[in-house]
Symmetry: C2
Subunit: 89 residues, 2 copies
């Protein structure tokens, strides 16, 4: 079966996010005074083959731990769904 | 009221994603043969002040169009929720 996994990775609270700070500065300079905080993370969308959703989730957790997230500075979340033919992403 | 908006930005289908291709290559080299495709997008989490959810969403749509996404190569989605005190991110 084909699955689509999404691994969302973000910097832990307390870790400075220079990219987020830059975007916040730009938004303020453009007149968006309502903005209080900006944090930027990654969204890694992985199409994979697995026996079932549990196996797919287990594989994605391993990928996140071993490669996709830096456990010292980043936190992550894994979401799995069955891949639909013709889905947008 | 305080809101937490999430703008998810990803490369449109058909636009080459070099970062995704590099991650796919690394995962394969690490033995994850199940991986068929990897696409990497951004997750921009913005805390902001607004009168209500509709205004917050409207502001976030403007930010996405004007700064966060490149309309030629990228697609985006905006999600808004009311900020809870002490929330994780």
């Amino acid at each position: 079966m084909k699955f689509k996994g999404t691994v969302t990775v973000w910097l832990k609270e307390g870790i400075f996010d220079p990219q987020g700070a830059a975007v916040k500065g730009s938004l303020e300079a453009m007149g968006f005074k309502e903005v209080e905080k900006v944090r930027i993370g990654k969204n890694i969308v992985i199409s994979l083959e697995a026996e079932g959703a549990a196996e797919a989730k287990d594989l994605l957790e391993q990928m996140a731990r071993k490669l996709l997230a830096n456990p010292v500075t980043e936190a992550y979340r894994v979401h799995v769904e069955e891949e639909k033919a013709g889905a947008e992403r």
